[in-house]
Amino acid sequence: MKPLITFGFILIAALFVAAVFAPFIATHDHTAINIKEAYLPPSASHIFGTDSLGRDLFSRMVYASRVVLMTGFVAVGIAAVIGVVLGSFSGYFGGAIDSVIMRFTDMMLCFPVFFLILSVVAFVTPGILNIMVIIGCTSWMGIARLIRAEVLTLRTKDYVLAAKALGRSNVYIVFRHIIPNGLGPALVNFVFGIAGAILVESALSFLGLGIQPPDPSWGNILLEGKSGMGVAWWVSVFPGLAIFFTAFGFNMLGEGLKQFFNPRLKR
């Protein structure tokens, strides 16, 4: 298991480097159209080839990694905030508050998430920000449930009772004692969530409902590649591989974290 986790970690690190230093890494201007150079196969001057408008594919993919990482992190960030707050209040207070929050969570879980997103997307203008918010608002349920379960055991801890005996308020206890201690196991879930969010974003962009050209995203490059599949395999294959390895990398990273938090899984 260990080498795979290291490999995943390297993949993610490389992705971060690509996103942060995109202007230095990109070999060409990623928006420059040059019809004369359309569908050039991979070569020394265009390492991943060019697309139907003659844009350098490698440069476009490097810039797209910014979009990909941003959607992944921001979407999970939104989901985490909603999930952690709802989950901890639900678990800590119990009773009616718990019932209301948990039934709402169950209701959200009843919708097939992807179709829920598709129907919401139909009402808003597609764009990076909207996509991030929509993915975030539809993927917090797992986190909420996980946190709630964690809080149910934390709230009987003696240090919580001691804080109550010291006259501390419930809100203080939730934010000072409950959330910091319940977050560890949920952190693993966040990392897996990033992989999921990236896949959802790619799928939406591929369907033309996500990030809109000229902003590059691996999903919409893949969409462009579909029409020219017969003549230019590289336009589909490289973004496809990028999506695959990114999802794989985040899953491995999550696995690594899981073992870090639960040493019993180490072998």
Binding site: D158, Y159, L161, A162
Partner: protein, 537 residues
């Protein structure tokens, strides 16, 4: 006497973050036939690791780096796993501290014991049941037939441990290793288990290695004693020799600590005023008993039944009882962490049953049993200690003064204030918990088993600290414990609680030497007392 087991130069190391640390350092000892060898030591002294290595069931991280374990001339460390399987159970068997986690919850007791015979292919179907019933009778089950068909959760802790004992002696082993077999049990149950073990020893000619931290138990059961510390054998002697003429300084300290706790007389109350600081009147608390997946309420369990008591200012009141008797629930009700069903709680004469103001909260504080559970692992010591001071509305400077003052009182270093709880030892952690309670200047301190999870030397240290703090700060204590010796040492008056009811109340002298209630009598008789032995046998 004939040697049955011989351990030579045993060294066991653990892999810890890449480096190896020795848990057991070159120890050698022998076990004679028909003898009980007591192994005493504080937690982390290597007692259990030694026992596990004899059975060869150490975890993966542990490694036996050198030594020999000779059983009837054979080196158990060099034989193959297949042969070792025949040694376990048939020749050497073991019982553990926590009987519940050793039993399979979905198999009946009879099936589990019978499995041993089936596994070792010793007898046929109908024979097995007969043998199992005989075994259950041996460990004093009144109705073996009924126990045979019971599941582990239907049995009490003591009964489960008896089942474990039955399983361990099923194949007539020569040696029984008992690793703290009574630590998780109440004192009356403990006495019974010890009696059964003694009888089995006589009946089956067992040799025993008995691991415990309690010198009182050792004085009851052992023939010879071995004291361990930091993976080494500090002293080895006959029981009477060890208790009357201990050679090593460490052993002397252990014995005097145990003596102190079991026979120490209470000091007179410092301030013998009659002002009642705290009073509970007819307090009752019950919990619903729920059954089935629909959680239908089928009845109520009364944790605290119509309890009344009063604590006078400056007095240490002891509340004693076995696990599950309702002491901890009562403590929570007193502090307003649980609401009673009925009854009144009075503090300094005012009724606070329904409203615990911040002032009242600050006046009464609690220290919990397990210091690993009562401190938030993610907070620094300074923040933990000052957690309650928000209600005093102070500026940063005077908060720092309080911190310095209270840390000085509990003898913790001010320089350690930015450390996290895991960087402190168990005793230090309990001091932090005490400091947190004292930082808000309470007048009543509820101590819920404050030393039960600590080693005996540290226990004494904390008790001494509590006594000192009491006189220094004019505190009133409500000291809750299952340990009668401890209560006797610290309390001025005692309440005995059983099944939610206070069965007896009086001064320490009255309750201990002239108990009126039958339950109290039984409780006091069961305590294994370490009596000073004069001279050898």
């Amino acid at each position: 006497m004939k040697k049955i087991l011989e351990v030579e130069n045993l060294r066991i190391s653990y892999l810890n973050n890449g480096s190896r640390t020795d848990a057991v350092k070159d120890i050698s000892f022998i076990l004679n036939e028909n003898e009980v060898l007591g192994v005493v030591g504080e937690s982390g002294s290597g007692k259990t690791v030694t026992a596990l290595s004899i059975m060869r069931i150490l975890s993966h991280e542990a490694n036996i780096s050198s030594g020999r374990i000779l059983f009837e001339g054979k080196d158990l460390l060099s034989i193959c796993e297949k042969d070792m399987e025949n040694v376990r159970g048939r020749n050497i068997s073991m019982i553990f501290q926590e009987p519940f986690s050793c039993l399979n919850p979905v198999m009946t007791v009879g099936e589990q014991i019978g499995e041993i015979y089936r596994f070792h292919e010793l007898s046929a179907g109908c024979e097995i049941k007969k043998q199992v019933l005989q075994l259950l009778e041996k460990v004093k089950f009144a109705m073996p037939e009924k126990t045979y068909d019971s599941y582990p959760h239907m049995l009490s802790g003591g009964e489960r441990q008896r089942v474990m004992i039955a399983m361990s002696v099923a194949l007539d082993p020569r040696i029984l290793i008992a690793d703290e077999p009574t630590t998780a049990l109440d004192v009356t149950v403990q006495a019974e288990i010890l009696r059964i073990l003694c009888e089995l020893k006589k009946e089956c000619g067992l040799s025993m290695i008995f691991i415990t931290h309690d010198l009182g138990i050792i004085s009851k059961i052992a023939d010879r004693v071995m004291v361990m510390k930091d993976g080494k054998i500090v002293e080895e002697n006959t029981k009477s020799g060890l208790l009357s003429k201990p050679k090593e300084e460490y052993t002397k300290r252990l014995i005097s600590a145990a003596m102190h706790l079991s026979s120490g007389a209470a000091e007179t109350a410092g301030e013998n005023s009659n002002a009642v600081i705290f009073e509970a009147r007819n307090v009752t608390k019950s919990f619903p008993i729920e059954k089935g997946i629909l959680r239908k309420e089928t009845g109520r369990f009364y944790a605290v039944k119509n309890v009344s008591f009063a604590v006078r200012k400056g007095v240490t009141a002891g509340l004693v009882g076995q696990s599950g008797c309702g002491k901890s629930t009562l403590a929570k009700i007193i502090l307003g962490l649980e609401k009673p069903d009925s009854g009144q709680i009075l503090f300094e004469g005012g009724d606070i049953t329904n409203f615990y103001s911040r002032r009242v909260r600050g006046m009464m504080q609690i220290v919990f049993q397990d210091p690993f559970n009562s401190l938030n692992p993610g907070m620094r010591m300074r923040d933990i200690v000052l957690e309650g001071t928000h209600m005093l509305k102070l500026d940063a400077g005077s908060r720092e003064d309080i911190l310095r003052d209270v840390l000085g009182k509990v003898r913790l270093s001010y320089n350690d204030r930015f450390k996290f709880p895991h960087q402190f030892s168990g005793g230090q952690r309990q001091r932090i918990a005490i400091a947190r309670a004292l930082a808000v200047r309470p007048s009543l301190l509820v101590l819920d088993e404050p030393v039960s999870s600590l080693d005996v030397l540290i226990q004494q240290d904390i008790i001494a600290l509590l006594k000192k703090l009491k006189t220094e700060m004019g505190l009133t204590y409500l000291f809750i414990s299952h340990d009668l010796g401890l209560i006797k040492e610290i309390a001025d008056e005692v309440y005995v609680m059983n099944e939610g009811i206070i069965v007896e109340h009086g001064t320490v002298e009255d309750v201990y030497y002239k108990p009126k209630d039958t339950y109290t009598k039984k409780l006091i008789e069961s305590v294994p007392v370490l009596t000073k032995l004069t001279g050898g046998k």
